[in-house]
Symmetry: C2
Subunit: 210 residues, 2 copies
């Protein structure tokens, strides 16, 4: 260690692959900035679409919908996990919600200082306020609240290059062996699920020290 | 609290549903006695057969075999989890291993002082020594090492009443909504996976204090 800035280019790094429709991604989105800061790890945000990944695995929708017993368990687990982490929680009346528009906005936000706040607000829309998240109006309202140029960002989000990038990032997720969300990578090391966030951050710090 | 013995009838209790063929049950079997003692929680051991549960959900074998990408991940996850907990680990050359004989012995051991040691030794046979666990010889060797009447226990394990009890306990697992192993119950509250063992123990203690 030669006096790197805490989040300089040589900081340990974690890739965070997530989906706004995914309930366990909600837990990770709400926690990751605070946890990563505690470990001194830089976050590389990687929004991707879970739907095409699940369809390639033969699932037409979330396994929590297809698999009734696991689904019933998951909502109880979510209520308990949110209580444990001190997070608000409302079981969404529609699940899984389409999230293509906010995922495209998130692609534009990755690397920007507003990314964490935008993602938390979008997740709260889905899993606390129980609102549709694939509409311009509520997403614009979040961007405006964050003092961002909402109509410019929404136009850019819906332009062809952003659509293409989201498709490519989803293909990359599939190529890397991702089968669910959230997923974390530290180098080639993959960690699946909010339950592995701390292990992944430990790994990032240990790697850095080697 | 009126001076109960630490593990008296009024102690907080956790039901531990597990399978010797299940790799995440390995982690929980190796950890549970120490963890439960730390919390002052009594363990009710509930061996059951995972195969019939999975078949009822439309899976002919473990999802880690059926689902190639998740399977590849799981073996890496197991190696890391074992390193984290300080447990030995060998990826078994056959998976999932049939465990009907040792599950029947475990039914006889539930409630006996030798249960924890027997379960750990059987799990080590599968996930450390990479040996077949559904044979009389290695199971007898474990029982003899524990100073138990091996041939009496094996005869009783293979007698009709024990076979029936294991079938019934598996049906009970299914009726309670169990879809994987390990699963913990604290009263009616279900916790799935080794990752939830500590949450379940916390819950047991909190329930008791109410």
């Amino acid at each position: 260690m030669t006096g790197d800035a805490p989040h300089g280019p040589a900081s340990p790094t974690i890739e965070f692959w997530f989906e706004f429709g995914s309930n366990y991604s909600y837990l990770a989105v709400m926690r990751i900035e605070e946890e990563a800061a505690r470990y001194g790890v830089r976050i590389v945000w990687k929004p991707f679409l879970l739907g095409p990944i699940l369809r390639a695995l033969g699932m037409e929708t979330s396994p929590f919908v297809l698999h009734k017993q696991k689904g019933a368990y998951v909502w109880r687990d979510m209520a308990r996990q949110c209580a444990k982490y001190g997070l608000p929680w409302t079981q969404p009346s529609a699940f899984p919600r389409l999230a293509i528009l906010p995922m495209r906005v998130a692609l534009l936000g990755a690397g920007q200082p507003w990314m964490g706040a935008f993602c938390r607000r979008t997740m709260e829309l889905n899993f606390v306020l129980d609102r549709d998240i694939n509409q311009s109006e509520p997403i614009a309202a979040i961007l405006i609240d964050l003092n961002l140029p909402a109509s410019d960002l929404l136009a850019q989000a819906q332009a062809e290059p952003t659509k293409t990038r989201l498709r490519q990032q989803t293909e990359e997720a599939q190529a890397r062996g991702i089968f669910g969300a959230p997923t974390f990578f530290v180098g080639a090391e993959m960690f699946w699920g909010n339950d592995r966030l701390d292990d992944a951050l430990h790994w990032a710090v240990d790697q850095k020290q080697e």
